[in-house]
């Protein structure tokens, strides 16, 4: 446990899991391994695991038999079976040259298409939580492959979210609806056609014409589309008595109600941070950085307020009061974990502090705020509230923002609006944007009204368009039962849907990439949606076309989305384009840009006159005490699969969830303390009671959640809320509010497709239709005694040297030391060099720099002499090279190092800006054809994502960690790459531009490179993940599954395969279907089994850019061909919403990456290994309130201005020599004189010391002078 004192994050412990925090022996072993234990073995392990898990569960080690099933007989049996199957397969296809056909265009040739070159079109993706994202779509000969943000769109500005990136898989979803289905009362479900529907519909809907649509109900999604609104008007004109219910499945309508009280109109609060005018941000359960309609704009603005370049730069300060742990909470400078109702209490307490002092409109509510009773409790820290109030007032008018999230009641939203108005924030740091009537209405209440109507028999035909109420409606409505009561139900849907399954008619719709449409973003920007490809499953109608069909005179009429959209746009031309004439050029401009720019700006809204509704709301607000473990509070959250519509997208299922890093699941999240109290902590989590938690080190009950069993195993609990009971696994999340359960929506789909079916648990039935928030109280949770596997990637790919891989300081330390360098003189080696602020935080300040005794032509660091100046008799060169007879070698050297010619690629990742959202991971997956492997494969550590986002906690308290930080790590392209020297076939070698190439066709799969990679960024294709179907079938499947034991969910859901299809020989497996193949990037190889892969720095984009620049004749002033800065972006950089990733030519003096790489916050990950990574990470700077630190975290307060772990007696003034002797057991370090004499150095351990002595000796043997510049 002593290494913790060396941590480069406030000197506090840095850990990713309970196991790592306590640093058990098992964990050390786990760390040393390339992959988690057991992942290299085949199947038999599983039986052993079952026994082991049973032993863990009963706390009886004797139950684990310890007998290995991986014996030779089992192995031979398996192999024999495989060989037999392979033999059959080998006989089928021959060994022939593939006969490829080239199909050209025929009569009609599109003018712009150049075969072999992608085209880019703009469009927009409507978001289910409101607004839209403007996108730029890469299409290859008419086939969209990758979605990127539209650089012109004010929300995206070229960036994209995980949802917009992954929505291309909605288009290529192999399980989506392909044709209409009719549930014939006599014959059951039959495949039908749109013609059948049209014929049936013209009869059916005719009956409603006479009744003016009575009995007809439409249940649609809330939409920002003006054309959809026009279609609604048409429907309601034709059938005035029809019911139109627009809902949003995951909405909390409290904001709409609260702003209605405050402003008299329903509003949506939108962040508008800027470095110039945002100093203090206070969030009450509002995760504005992720899973939020304006997440892209908020993340970008927030990053801008946090960026520190100069030591004089100021940062905004973020206070977060939240119940779960969100991206916003992780980004906070001060965070308080509170149950949802207590978050409201904290807001009221803040209002009590603010109201008397702020004046203005707050005066009107002062009495009402004072009247609200807030039960006291230990959970709320009054100091934080007071400091918040002080800072909000001190920030000045319009310099702060108070944001309230979806778990909060209307009164809280109203209160925040009044406070924002009083602080002058409205229109500056916060904007309030009016909602239209359809958007403003409460979804669950609307559903309730519809349910009543159905119950009373008032609905004879229900048309669901894009909605899936059977899956996601609140449980008290029992929508599945209601649907059965409606005589005729028609469901239009794109992906597979539970509602469609239960409907009379299921109609296949088009995705937004296949049809015309339009959308409006939250900030009011209008975007046309243009199709990228004809509907894959024709015929199909888009939502607006379907509505137009229903509202038209004849059901047989042709409907054309293009004409519908144009008609609406033409009708609004005066408002949107400023003129009615000249429609055509302006429309074409809008199609080209993807937006209409001349949308009228909105003026900041004014508060309602007397605020009596706000006062009334506050009067009705009753706040309870903090919840107890017998009656938990609940926060419903959204995760990577959104409200369930992305459940069939493997990329998102396999993207680690925020905080827990859990994949393929949505366990109930509890704080460790609550989980222990309720007896539902994961297996291997060895705390019996609260006393253990208080003194974990003394009781010595080491945690082994991840290391004791082969797979992490959760206990299954029974949850009862609002009369509904479900069983779900429970997982712990450090930093969550105690006695609060987080239930993630969007999982537990039963009819989503091969990927999403049966993944996780559906918590929607536990919601009730009467609440307007995504929170509830009164949850009963009890252990069932069952267990289940929960897969969390947080301990995968653990790097050794955790004490300095992550580095963070507080703003005062940066201000004090940011511009200083420290000269390191090492007496042992006689070397001198300067290290920057960031490197001073790590090992380099107390270990000597590494100088290779080999003359590495790739060395381009400050430690290296200029290679162009090396002379033949240079004493630093190894003797064999100094030999004049080696003239050729020397001549080669004289020409300069391999890395002296431009371009040389490099990347920086700014940890201050990174929010951990995962957009880089998904963008990389989309760009580089990275496979999805499934739940159990991930459990074995076989996930393929090239960029992993490591999540670290700090501090000693598992239940309440100090901070949560993120570090994206992909291949860092070492100049001295350890992987390259061990590859026996030269499959991974270095390129002349500094890229560490991975040549797949050379790779023979020894995995030596992955073993030797200290960053653990290499991914191995253990099976044919990339070319066979996920959860697919295989020949003889029935026969095999008849004899195979049920292994319950090996790839993803397990609903579709009883045994792991990966274990079937590749030839027998179902190949990837053609539709899924269409997404693949044609410029990147789809890797097959037995091949290593890793980040390539998007070499395909680099090569394409180089070719384009060369053909265009772009040259620099010296006449060299160059790729200009910004000519292209790598996929992760392009997606990153907070601009944390910078990529470019590090030899370009003007490039941004040169500036960031040289920046004082920039450090090399594991730099002391002399790997010389091309990717550098930048120190996270936080901006805590010193007064709070002083009272609550004196340890960190002491380091506020002295971040270096060797304490205050090393001032670190410029030019001062330092000699460090870390490692003395009591932690004291004596400054030593720099004398050039070898001293008794102790580094990290004695072994290293020995090696270093030998190294120094070798330098002397090679007559490399000591004390000189190396």
């Amino acid at each position: 446990m002593t290494p913790r004192t060396l941590s480069a994050v406030h000197g506090q412990a840095v850990w990713r899991s309970a196991d790592e925090l306590w640093d058990s022996a098992q964990f050390r072993e786990h760390l040393e391994r390339e992959f988690p234990a057991g992942m290299s073995e085949l199947v038999m392990r599983e039986r052993q695991d079952l026994a082991k898990d049973a032993a863990l569960l009963k706390n009886d080690p004797t139950l684990a038999t310890g007998k290995s099933f991986e014996n030779r007989r089992e192995f031979l049996k398996l192999m024999g079976g495989s060989m037999a199957l392979a033999g059959i397969a080998a006989a089928v296809p021959g060994c022939r040259r593939p006969d490829q056909k080239i199909y050209t265009y025929s009569k009609v040739v599109p003018e712009e298409v150049v075969p072999g070159k992608p085209l880019y079109y703009v469009t927009a993706m409507p978001r289910f939580d409101g607004g839209c994202e403007g996108l730029l779509v890469e299409t290859h000969e008419g086939r969209p492959t990758k979605l990127e943000g539209n650089p012109l769109h004010p929300m995206n500005q070229g960036k994209s979210t995980i949802w917009s990136l992954a929505s291309i898989m909605e288009l290529y979803d192999p399980d989506r609806a392909k044709f209409p289905t009719f549930n014939n009362p006599q014959r059951g479900k039959v495949m039908a056609s749109w013609d059948d529907f049209r014929a049936w519909g013209s009869e059916h809907f005719k009956a409603y014409d006479a009744k003016q649509g009575e009995g007809l109900a439409f249940l649609v999604e809330k939409s920002s589309s003006p054309t959809r609104a026009a279609m609604r008007d048409r429907i309601l004109k034709k059938w005035p008595k029809a019911t139109w219910t627009a809902v949003s499945s995951s909405e909390a309508s409290a904001e709409s109600a609260g702003t209605l009280a405050a402003f008299g109109t329903s509003m949506r609060s939108v962040t508008n941070f800027a470095k110039a005018h945002t100093k203090t941000i206070v969030s009450f359960d509002r995760d504005f950085l992720q899973y939020h309609a304006t997440e892209l704009a908020s993340a970008r603005q927030f990053a801008a307020t946090r960026l520190v370049v100069e030591t004089s730069d100021e940062m905004s300060r973020l206070y977060v009061f939240e119940s779960s742990l969100t991206a916003t909470g992780a980004a906070a400078d001060h965070r308080m974990r509170l149950a949802p109702s207590r978050v409201t209490a904290a807001l009221v307490l803040l209002a009590k502090e603010l109201a008397p002092r702020v004046g203005g409109s707050a005066g009107a509510i002062k009495a009402a705020v004072d009247a609200v009773q807030v039960p006291s409790g230990d959970d709320i820290d009054q100091l934080l509230i007071n400091e918040c109030a002080t800072e909000l007032l001190a920030a000045g008018q319009g310099q702060s923002a108070i944001l309230v999230g979806s778990s909060q009641p209307a009164a809280a939203h109203a209160l925040a609006a009044v406070l924002n108005a009083a602080l002058g924030n409205i229109g500056k740091s916060v904007r309030y944007v009016a909602m239209d009537a359809e958007e403003a209405g409460p979804s669950t209440a609307r559903l309730g009204v519809l349910s009543e109507q159905i119950k009373s028999g008032g609905v004879s035909t229900l048309v669901c368009i894009g909605t899936n109420p059977v899956y996601d409606a609140p449980g008290d409505l029992d929508f599945a039962g209601l649907l059965a009561k409606v005589p005729t139900t028609i469901t239009w849907h794109v992906g597979a849907s539970e509602t469609a399954e239960a409907s009379t008619w299921s109609l296949n719709g088009t995705s937004f990439l296949e049809a015309w449409g339009d959308a409006k973003s939250i900030d009011g920007t209008l975007s046309p949606i243009q199709p990228m490809i004809a509907p894959l499953y024709e015929p199909a109608l888009s939502e607006i076309e379907f509505l137009a069909l229903l509202s038209g005179k004849e059901m047989s009429a042709k409907v054309d989305g293009y004409e519908l959209v144009r008609e609406v746009w033409r009708g609004n031309a005066k408002e949107w384009f400023g003129a009615i004439t000249d429609f055509e050029p302006k429309w074409r401009r809008a199609l080209h840009d993807g937006l209409v720019t001349s949308v009228a700006p909105t003026t900041p809204p004014a508060l309602a006159k007397d605020l009596k509704d706000v006062v009334a709301g506050l009067g009705a607000l009753t706040l309870g005490a903090a919840p107890s473990s017998g009656s938990l509070e609940v926060a419903f959250t959204l995760g990577n699969v959104g409200d369930g519509r992305f459940a069939n997208v493997g990329w998102l299922q396999e993207l680690p969830a925020f905080g827990t890093r859990v994949v393929w699941d949505n366990p109930v999240l509890l704080s460790p303390k609550t989980a222990v109290e309720l007896g539902v902590a994961p297996l291997g989590f060895k705390y019996q009671g609260a006393s253990d938690l208080a003194n974990p080190f003394e009781t010595n009950k080491l945690n082994a959640m991840y290391t004791e069993g082969t797979y992490p195993t959760a206990r299954v609990a029974e949850l009862t809320l609002n009369g509904k009971t479900v069983k779900a696994p429970v997982w712990i999340l450090p930093g969550m509010a105690d006695n609060t359960a987080v239930l993630m929506l969007g999982y537990g789909r039963t009819n989503a497709g091969l990927v999403g079916d049966g993944v996780g648990v559906n918590f929607s039935p536990m919601r009730k239709s009467s609440t307007s928030t995504l929170a509830d109280a009164g949850l009963k949770l009890s252990a069932t005694g069952e267990t289940t596997m929960v897969v969390s990637t947080q301990n995968h790919w653990t790097m050794d040297g955790k004490d300095s891989v992550l580095r963070a300081v507080d703003l005062p330390a940066w201000k004090k030391y940011g511009s200083q360098t420290q000269e390191i003189v090492d007496s042992f080696y006689g070397t001198k060099w300067n290290i920057n602020f960031a490197e001073r935080l790590g090992e380099l300040s107390h270990t000597p720099p590494n100088i290779s005794i080999y003359d590495n032509p790739y060395n381009r660091s400050p430690m290296d002499a200029d290679p162009t100046k090396k002379k033949a008799n240079d004493p630093r060169l190894p003797s064999n090279v100094r030999d004049p007879s080696q003239a050729a070698v020397i001549a080669n050297r004289e020409q300069g190092a391999a890395f002296s010619s431009r371009p040389q690629w490099g990347m920086t990742i700014d940890q201050t800006l990174c929010t951990g959202c995962g957009a880089c991971t998904i963008a990389c997956q989309a760009e580089n054809n990275i496979a999805v492997v499934g739940k159990k494969e991930t459990a074995k550590g076989r996930e393929m994502a090239w960029i992993r986002v490591d999540r670290y906690f700090t501090g000693d308290d598992l239940n309440n960690p100090g901070a949560c930080m993120h570090q994206p790590v992909a291949c860092v392209h070492c100049e001295n790459a350890p992987c390259e020297v061990v590859c026996p076939v030269n499959a991974t070698i270095h390129g002349p531009e500094g890229l560490n190439y991975m040549t797949y066709n050379r790779c023979i799969g020894t995995r030596y490179c992955a073993n030797n990679c200290p960053y653990k960024v290499r991914r191995y294709n253990w099976f044919d993940y990339g070319v066979t179907k996920f959860n697919g079938g295989y020949y003889f499947k029935d026969a095999v599954e008849a004899v195979a034991p049920d292994r319950g969910g090996i790839t993803g859901s397990g609903e579709h395969n009883k045994i792991n299809p990966n274990l079937i020989p590749p030839r027998l497996r179902d190949k990837l279907d053609e539709i899924s193949k269409m997404q693949k990037n044609p410029d990147v190889t789809v890797r097959s089994r037995g091949v290593m892969e890793k980040c390539t720095y998007c070499v395909q984009r680099i090569n394409a850019a180089k070719i384009e620049c060369k053909l265009a004749g772009l040259k620099d002033k010296d006449g060299h061909y160059v790729v200009p800065e910004g000519f292209f972006q790598v996929a992760c950089q392009q997606a990153c919403p907070s601009n944390a990733i910078v990529f470019g030519d590090i030899l370009d003096e003007q490039s941004k990456v040169t500036a960031t790489r040289r920046h004082a916050r920039s450090y090399a990950l594991l730099g002391y290994l002399n790997t010389r990574p091309r990717t550098s990470h930048m120190v996270r700077v936080m901006n805590p309130n010193p007064r709070i630190l002083q009272a609550r975290d004196p340890e960190r307060f002491a380091r506020l201005e002295e971040p270096f772990h060797h304490g205050a007696h090393h001032g670190g003034h410029e030019g001062e020599s330092h000699e460090h002797m870390p490692g003395s057991e009591d932690g004291t370090h004596e400054p030593a004189e720099s004398s050039g004499e070898p001293k008794a150095h102790t580094f990290f351990d004695t072994r290293k010391q020995r090696e270093d002595r030998g190294y120094a000796m070798s330098l002397r043997v090679l007559s490399i002078p000591q004390g000189g510049q190396a």
Partner: protein, 238 residues
């Protein structure tokens, strides 16, 4: 013992050893020769739909430039196969009447040979041409545009297409074959304006080979190259 193994068996080990050696040599030699692209790919001549496009006639006799049909070869990675509309431009009903009767055969049987073009055009269907030249999937985007603009002639990779009635695979297109040129481009680069003049290029390159010299033009072109052609893995494999 002598009963079991008569004396003549003493030579057996030698015979077996020699046999094994010979077999090994034959196997390795056979593999060396037969399992290479040089054997498998050179000469590949698939039958094309409709009797195929006669390059000898069009590019040779009629003197059509390669880029008349492969329109995007200077602009894109791919040397695109012409659209049916391009074929139809000449072979549409009654379109060839104006041309020189001495070159073009207007006999009804000959005209019938191009009927498949008009049929495809009428149906707006494409003609399923069979691919002759193909690099493996792990070789990415052979950039025709870069090579052409750097002065690499069609001839260097495809041979004398203008003499082929039916196109066949003229060069092995193996990796070592690629690298031969990438390591010594001066042997193959020609002035950019000559890249589609296959006969001239053949003459020039043969001359260079025979005399062991490098043409003045090649020097000029080399100077305009950005740098030596890449010979690293990442240039093609990713």
């Amino acid at each position: 013992v002598s009963v079991l193994f008569p004396k003549w068996t003493n030579v057996l080990p030698t015979v077996f050893a020699m046999g094994a050696l010979g077999g090994a040599v034959a196997a390795i030699g056979g593999f060396w020769y037969y399992a290479t692209p040089k054997f498998w790919r050179v000469g590949y001549m698939p039958t094309q739909p409709g009797g195929g496009f006669n390059h000898q006639l069009h590019a040779g006799k009629l003197g059509m430039d390669c880029r008349y049909c492969h329109t995007k070869v200077e602009k894109s990675y791919e040397a695109n196969i012409p659209n049916v509309a391009t074929c139809y431009g000449c072979h549409g009903a009654g379109k060839l009447k104006k041309m020189d009767q001495s070159v073009i055969d207007y006999s009804p049987t000959h005209v019938a040979k191009t009927e498949f073009i008009r049929e495809a055009f009428a149906q707006d269907a494409s003609i399923p041409w069979r691919r002759v030249h193909k690099v493996p999937d792990y070789v990415h985007n052979f950039p025709h545009h870069v090579h052409l603009n750097a002065g690499m002639s069609c001839y260097s990779c495809h041979g004398r297409i203008d003499t082929m009635p039916v196109v066949f695979h003229a060069e092995p297109m193996s990796m070592s074959w690629c690298l031969d040129c990438h390591r010594a481009p001066e042997k193959s680069v020609v002035p950019k304006e000559k890249v589609t003049n296959l006969a001239w290029v053949q003459d020039e390159l043969t001359k260079r080979k025979e005399t062991g010299t490098v043409g003045v033009d090649a020097q000029r072109v080399l100077e305009t190259l950005q740098k030596a052609p890449p010979a690293n893995c990442g240039a093609c494999h990713y």
